[in-house]
Structures are given as C-alpha cells and as structure tokens.
C-alpha cells in the first residue's frame, strides 16, 4: 500500500510529461494538412544571377494570402487594396478608357517601336496583354546582340479587373482575384547579363 502511494507522484509526473509532450509538440510541429494549401494559386518571384549561382532571390506568395493582406494596408496611395493613380504623371491619359479600347480591340499589335537602341512591342494576343522590350547592345559588333529582354504577359481578365474600380484607382485585390482564376502562366520575364527575373503563377508552393 505504502509502496503504491509512494509511486503516485512519480506516476503523476510521468503522466504529466506524457500529456505535455503531445500538446506542446502538436502546437509547434504538427503541420495542418498542407494539401489544402497546395490547391491554392501561388505567385512566385525568382531573381538569379546567371554568372554567379550564389545570388538568388526566391519569393513564394499564396494569392489567397495576398488578397487578404492587401486590404489591410493603409499607407499613402495604398488604401483598402486600391492604389490611387492620380499622383502618377498620367498626362491626361484616361486609363480606363484606354483599357476599354484595348479590351474591345481584336488581337494585334498596338505599338511597335524599332530603333538602334531598343525594340518595343505592345500587343494583344489570345486574351493576353503583351509588352516586349528588347534593349540592344550598341557596343557589340553583332547588331542583333541584346543587352536585356523584358517580356510581360498579363491575362486581359486581370487587366480588366485591375481597372474595374474607380477612374483614378487600380484595384489590386480584384486583379489578384482574377489572376487566381487563371491557369499556370509566366507573367514577367526579364533577362540581362547580370540577372534574370521571373514572375509566374502556378499551384506549387515552392519555386522550381
């Protein structure tokens, strides 16, 4: 009897330790099912230096998270997920009217600039708004040598959503929401001698 009583504190301690372990462990370590997150859409940004493989920036942002965070930011021109564009130097350009015209236009090239320094192409193609800029390397003997190449490819639905708010605002949350409905796509690609930048959308929570 006495023996049993003597063991009680020890048993209580062991039981307490056992009880403590799973609770604190589950709070700290056990992940909730990451499968639910894997179905989300992720925006990835990767910056690399092609010469030095050591230099790299990787950003992976779930669009759902961005959609919820953006409305909470209230700073300067940023308010409730909208960015005021009245401070930009619009020079009288009505962006909404411009985008409306682009939306209603058929596929084709809107702007093409070709000179010794750069080639610029702005087009609408297959429900995508495209901007291509190639900066030429004037120092090179090869006249087609490129200093940098920028490719921007934005789904028209995203462009529409961005400019769906007030006349002087860009609705980022609506843009992100529209983006989340798109399939896997590369949005921005910048390549020059020093670095490459990629911004793309997919369903993976890690960049390639």
């Amino acid at each position: 009897m006495n023996d049993r009583i003597r063991r009680i504190p020890a048993v209580a301690l062991i039981a307490g330790a056992l009880a403590l372990t799973p609770i604190s462990g589950s709070a700290q370590n056990s992940p909730k099912s990451s499968d639910s997150a894997s179905h989300d859409r992720w925006l990835h940004v990767r910056v690399e230096n092609p010469e030095s493989k050591d230099e790299i920036v990787r950003v992976n942002i779930p669009l759902e998270l961005a959609e919820k965070i953006l409305p909470t930011i209230d700073k300067d021109k940023f308010h409730n997920g909208h960015v005021k564009i009245d401070h930009f130097d619009c020079q009288g350009v009505d962006f909404q009217a411009l985008m409306s015209a682009v939306r209603e236009a058929k596929d084709g090239e809107f702007v093409t600039v070709q000179n010794k320094e750069e080639d610029v192409r702005v087009a609408k193609q297959g429900n995508y708004f495209l901007v291509h800029v190639i900066e030429k390397d004037r120092d090179s003997k090869d006249k087609d040598a490129k200093r940098s190449k920028v490719e921007v490819k934005v789904p028209m639905k995203v462009v529409d959503a961005l400019f769906s708010g007030k006349k002087d605002e860009v609705d980022l949350v609506a843009g992100l929401h529209a983006l989340a409905l798109q399939g896997d796509t590369e949005l921005v690609s910048v390549k020059d001698r020093e670095q490459t930048v990629r911004v793309w959308l997919d369903s993976k929570n890690v960049s390639d």
Binding site: A12, A27, Q28, P31, I56
Partner: protein, 161 residues
C-alpha cells in the same frame, strides 16, 4: 506519509498543468551569435508574452493620462496587417516564403508548423528567430487593446491646453 504523497501529487499536478498551459503555444526562440563574442540565446514560452501584454492595460490604470503610451502611427498601421498575416499563415505550415542568398548572406523567412522562422546568416552574424503565430496574434490583439484604451483616455481628458 499519505499526507506527503498527497502534497507531492498536488504539487506535481500543479506543475504539470502550469507547464502544459505555459507551453501550449510553443516556445519563442531568439538566437544571435556574432563574431565579436556575442551569443544571445533566449527561449521563452510563447504564452508568457501575451500574459505580460495583458498586464500592460492594467498598468495603464495607474499611469497619469498625459503619460499614457501611444503606439506610433506606422506601428498602428501594421497592426491589422499583422493580425491577418498571423491568422492566415496558420494555413501555410512548412512553407518557405522568402529566400535571399548571395555569396556571403543567406536570409530565409518560412513557416515551420505553426511558427514563423527567420534565419539570417552573414559573415558577421547568425540570427535565428522562431515565433509562434499564436503568440503574434495575442500580442497584436493586446497592442490593439492598449491603443484603443490610450485613445479613449486621451479623448476623455479632452484637448490639450
């Protein structure tokens, strides 16, 4: 003898319950090591921080109104962001959000389970911060309460002469 056993059992039970409660939010860690001999390693139960924060509004009752703290505007703007961030990050366990690496610096921001982990390694410093998301949520809520209370108190005392 039986009395001693009962006291020991009660003590063990209390310690266990206190331990469970203290650690239920996990442990916050801050580790800083630099080349100049500084080694700071802090492990603290995450539940302690909100407990301390809860005491802060109480302390404000004993503080002259004109001396009440006011959270800087920039920090106030960060409160709703942090609140949503801490809540939503719970949905993304074990995810790497940011990695920056160059020849001598490596920065990683990620979630491990229900904690945010920030690692910074450069030639001079090595910093490792682990912060349970539940703790961030509690702190943000408490900060908000303090701010609201400070606002109310200032409003009650009227405009400064």
């Amino acid at each position: 003898m039986i009395l001693i056993a009962k006291v020991a059992l009660a003590f063990a039970g209390t310690v266990t319950a206190a331990g469970v409660y203290t650690l239920h939010d996990g442990v916050a860690q801050v580790q800083v090591d630099d080349n100049h001999g500084t080694h700071i390693h802090i492990w603290a139960p995450a539940a302690i921080v909100p407990m301390a924060m809860h005491v802060a509004p109480l302390a404000m009752h004993f503080t002259p109104r004109r001396e009440l703290p006011k959270i800087p505007r920039d920090a106030q703007q960060a409160i709703p962001i942090l609140r949503v961030l801490a809540k939503e990050l719970q949905n993304y366990p074990n995810t790497e959000f940011v990695e920056v690496r160059d020849s001598d610096t490596h920065v990683v921001v990620r979630t491990v389970g229900s904690k945010v982990v920030v690692d910074v390694v450069d030639p001079e410093n090595k910093v490792h911060v682990v912060c349970p998301l539940a703790m961030i949520q509690d702190v943000v809520e408490s900060l908000n309460d303090i701010n609201v209370e400070a606002d109310d108190s200032k409003a009650d005392s009227g405009p400064a002469a």
